[in-house]
Symmetry: C2
Subunit: 162 residues, 2 copies
DNA sequence: TAGAAACCCTTGAGTGACTACAGAGTCAAG
DNA sequence: CTTGACTCTGTAGTCACTCAAGGGTTTCTA
């Protein structure tokens, strides 16, 4: 199959597949006479695996570790467990941060019930003083904003779910 | 004052200040004879405001809107309210996603209680099948991983808190 | 007063995980 | 034979910074 079909099957888009190839996550495929990439069932498997991991918010480096273990089935999988435990820890930590954030934002929002002149806006006032209380920690856990880049992930999920 | 002192006062680092200047968030400051940037109290205020907003995970574009209202105190602040409401929505949405994520990761983790051969690892098995159930949405809300870039934010917070 | 240390300058590249585009080639259907 | 859908490579852009090289300036200390 060509790249477009692989993309459809795995619920990714085409550029992402080429990106993974460049990045070494997908093996370099054979080419047709017309220089098109030709994929087989193993590629579908591997790409779907990657996408499933990505939908669990793992980094490509984390996924690389998992792929390594898939390829070396005789090795001990303790590292897989460790990786997942760490990842669960990151998610939990980020959730705590977001809870604190939500609290602060709602506090702030209550300072200005309805529209008035900006000069008397409680929100701007609040932001102009040092309100933020809790000391953040954070090492590996990201922010609140996701740009268009990640939208294909959502599409990807729908693609190969039951 | 010079850039280093401003950085200390606002709890940022020097590169970030120059970055904000390039990006138009901070006005171009005067220069000393030796070509050093010279800042005053207004710069401290403005930079602290920006950092406070960033510690609430707002984007620079969102902050630009807020700065505009700070500078036009006679305008109606309804947009400030709207911006904050939207932002609160994003945070709430991301928290829901992370909760779902945590559930899935813990499910997965239970599939492999202790270390064994990767060939029989329940986690790798799980990731190889289509487990992920919920359809993600997400438009503007980011992932679980934060890299070194954001660590200075935490430092920033400590800088100007009570 | 010399020299070292601390600070500052600009420029350019790097981060993660992609997306988007330009400009060209290939292929199947009508 | 042409249209349109698909594919190719390569490059640049996203976000909010960080880091490093290679230089200049200022301040502290001996």
């Amino acid at each position: 199959m060509k790249i477009g079909e692989l993309a459809r099957l795995a619920g990714t888009n085409v550029e992402t597949i080429r990106y993974y190839e460049r990045d070494g996550l997908l093996p370099v495929p054979a080419r047709s006479e017309g220089n098109y990439r030709i994929y087989g069932e193993t590629h579908v498997q591997r790409l779907s695996f990657i996408r499933r991991c990505r939908s669990l918010d793992m980094t490509l480096d984390e996924i690389r570790v998992l792929l390594h273990f898939k390829e070396s089935p005789q090795e001990n999988c303790a590292d897989v467990n460790r990786l997942l435990d760490r990842h669960i820890g990151h998610v939990a930590q980020r959730m705590q941060e977001l809870q604190e954030l939500e609290r602060q934002l709602k506090d702030l929002r209550e300072r200005c019930g309805e529209a008035r002149e900006a000069a008397h806006c409680g929100i701007l006032d609040g932001l102009s003083q040092a309100i933020v209380p809790g000391g953040e920690t954070a090492s590996h856990v990201q922010g609140t904003h996701r740009h268009a880049a990640n939208r294909s992930l959502a599409k990807g999920n729908q693609g190969n779910q039951v």
